[in-house]
Amino acid sequence: MTVVKWAFQLMVAIGFGLVALSGWWALAWWRRRGPPRSPWFLRAAALAGIAAAVAVEAGWVVTEVGRQPWIVYGVMRTAEAVNPAPGLATGLALVAAVYAVLTVATVAVLRRMARHRDEPVAPQEGVPEPVDSGR
């Protein structure tokens, strides 16, 4: 199945890309005790966070799409396992809508935290680390 193939290859490619990025850093550190100087390293590092999440999602696509039409491989089909109760599509739409709102709110909050860096968000982080004092 092409979806599974591409998802798998994407996951593996990102994985090796991240390994290479770490290697780049390690090489620079080994040579002269400092981070790589190239701005391309910083660009790649900024993308690495998103790429890692994409790799995880691609991995899920591999397992979930790859297992079809089984829900329990070789034992039970997805069609047999689905809840026959009415209205499930509405429930799914509701959950999707809530998560869409949460995504927007999360991005908004994170953007603001990036601007004012000493905002505690989770209460257990109420005493923020002095991030760049003493530099």
């Binding site: 809840n83 109760a85 959950v95 909050v109 989770a122 209460p123």
Partner: protein, 340 residues
């Protein structure tokens, strides 16, 4: 006693801990809702946020334990439960998600409008979620979740007199527990005015919820006569235990024993859950799905029990440490701690 019985005991213990710990978190959110205007309620909201903050959402581990345990040890019961009650289960999940997110987002908000929006989401989901969870208990207890996949009515199973009673009782219990716990928190914070406020709230909710719980039994008697008969029968000891613990709690609040009352108030609430368990045992899903019939494969049960023991050895000290750290720390009301 079989392995399935032991696991059922663990299930009830997990449900009890969830009610006592997360219930207080929900209740704190309910008091946040009724804390008054932005200015007038600021000190109360600060105390509430500080009390919940340290163990922020950690208490949901007990709900996860309960759900996973029913799922793995009593699969036929779980299948019936989840498929018939998917509406309130989804709504409760959304309430828990919205609550946690809004609580965190409110902390990171600067404008009053945003804080109001997130604060309202936090407070409203704190009221709605216990109602859904309570109505789920009412659905099972009144025998409206028959064995089989989606055999019950997806609406009437949890929108009925017994579920309404259980849902309202859950809201009341959460508010009561939170008020009781917050008295001591306020005293440790050295806020005498907040001690008086939560003391009054604890006394009022104690009387109202206790009276409502007793009066509401009339609803159960009419709507779920089988359950009521058992509550009057072998579960009567536990019903009376709840009643006595509730009265003792009122006396302890009146005489200023704010640490000890945490124990008796918790007992008053826990005994209600235990009474439900005792009334139903050995039936897992009324009318006739018993614990023995619903239990999974013996190998699975033994494995789950072994894993639980190992998990408890790791989890219990961690949680006790977490609670002791934050209960020992001196809370500050008003200003956040100095930075630097």
């Amino acid at each position: 006693m079989t392995v399935a019985d032991v696991l059922l005991g663990v299930l009830l213990a997990g449900l009890t801990l969830y009610t006592l710990l997360a219930g207080a978190d929900f209740g704190a959110g309910i008091w946040d809702l009724f804390a008054g205007g932005a200015r007038r309620g600021a000190a109360r909201r600060e105390l509430i946020a500080h009390s919940i903050g340290p163990v922020w959402e950690a208490n949901h581990v007990w709900l996860i334990l309960v759900i996973t345990l029913i799922w793995t040890t009593f699969p036929p019961a779980f299948a019936a439960f989840a498929s018939t009650l998917y509406v309130p289960l989804t709504l409760a999940a959304l309430g828990i998600i919205g609550r946690g997110a809004a609580f965190a987002f409110r902390k990171a908000s600067h404008t009053l409008a945003e804080q109001r929006l997130y604060g309202a989401t936090f407070a409203i989901s704190s009221v709605a979620t216990p109602f859904f969870l309570g109505s789920i208990v009412g659905a099972v207890a009144s025998g409206r979740v028959p064995p089989g996949i989606a055999e019950g009515d997806i609406w009437r199973s949890w929108l009925n007199p017994t579920s309404g009673y259980a849902g309202l009782l859950a809201i009341g219990v959460c508010a009561y527990l939170a008020a009781v716990y917050l008295i001591h928190d306020a005293r440790r914070a050295g806020a005498a005015d907040l001690v008086a406020q939560f003391r009054r709230r604890a006394l009022i909710t104690g009387v109202v919820v206790g009276a409502g719980a007793a009066a509401g039994l009339a609803v159960v008697a009419a709507d779920a006569p089988d359950l009521f008969a058992e509550l009057r029968g072998r579960a009567l000891v536990l019903v009376l235990l709840s009643f006595v613990a509730g009265i003792v709690s009122l006396v302890l609040i009146g005489t200023g024993r704010y640490r000890l009352v945490r124990v008796t108030a918790a007992l008053a609430v826990a005994a209600v859950l235990w009474a439900w368990g005792a009334a139903q045992y050995p039936v897992l899903l009324p009318p006739d799905l018993t614990v023995a019939e619903a239990a999974g494969d013996p190998t699975v049960l033994a494995t789950v029990l072994a894993v639980l023991v190992v998990g408890a050895l790791l989890l219990t000290p961690s949680l006790l440490w977490l609670f002791s750290i934050f209960q020992g720390a001196k809370p500050t009301t008003g200003k956040p701690p100095p930075r630097g």
